[in-house]
Subunit: 166 residues, 2 copies
Amino acid sequence: VAVLQDEMPAPAEVRFDCTGIATGKTRNDLTVTMVRPFAETFVPATGESAFRGGDATAPPPLALFVAGLTGLPMTQIRAFGKRLGVPAAGLRVETRVVRDRARADRVYQTAPRGFEIDIHLGAAVPDDDRAALGAAARKGCFLEQTLGQANTIRHRLAVAEGWREV
Amino acid sequence: VAVLQDEMPAPAEVRFDCTGIATGKTRNDLTVTMVRPFAETFVPATGESAFRGGDATAPPPLALFVAGLTGLPMTQIRAFGKRLGVPAAGLRVETRVVRDRARADRVYQTAPRGFEIDIHLGAAVPDDDRAALGAAARKGCFLEQTLGQANTIRHRLAVAEGWREV
């Protein structure tokens, strides 16, 4: 991890692009490209279970979100642990995400209710060192910082004559 | 999809839990469980490329987040399209996520810069129907609603005597 940090200009821009194509009944095939600082491409997929009309060939989108929300602080803790001299061996993280969903006419609306992240460091580390590592990882975690503030998401819908904001 | 909606109480609670275990050099093996309304389990993984000290056996956490952010509105658009009578055949979505990262002492801090989601419906659908579907999908998309507001994430760090909030 140190390689990336040390070679990055400060401040640095990180950019991910994704193109999703609807394929199976509920399956979406996705091409995720890290555009900056280094080009890398990944091809995950999302889907729904048979119960919800899908073919169960991939996890639902929210499962990928929760996996990213759990994996990102884990990556931060291990990377920052090296830098701060706090051993992160045996790391285990447990996350809980709850949302509400209410019908609205023919469709439904939704809102988040709560996010909880429990961090277990396996090594015998003094409590203050643990807390320092946890706090640093929180500030360095893109998803933590993003979810903690109100973000503007720009939506454009392709229409007959160009784009419409929705 | 209609099956789930019709059988759900309104309002309904949706809950995902995740346990992440640090395994490889940067790899995290994750068990994501949809606890409510229906129990399902998924086992994604995250990792880092060899360039960043990893073994490149799984996508980075942020790639899963961006995949979820792209896949979820696609799932909503297809589900709500059926309910609103708007065909969603040929759906393609393109997403761009940009964040800033700045060094802070031995570690770094981060902040989101922008989110853009472009929605392409393939079928010959009147523009107003497209816009109605796009707006409904936005309100029904958990990630849209979550990112659009400031959320409180509760962090607990396991310490010698119980838990510490970080």
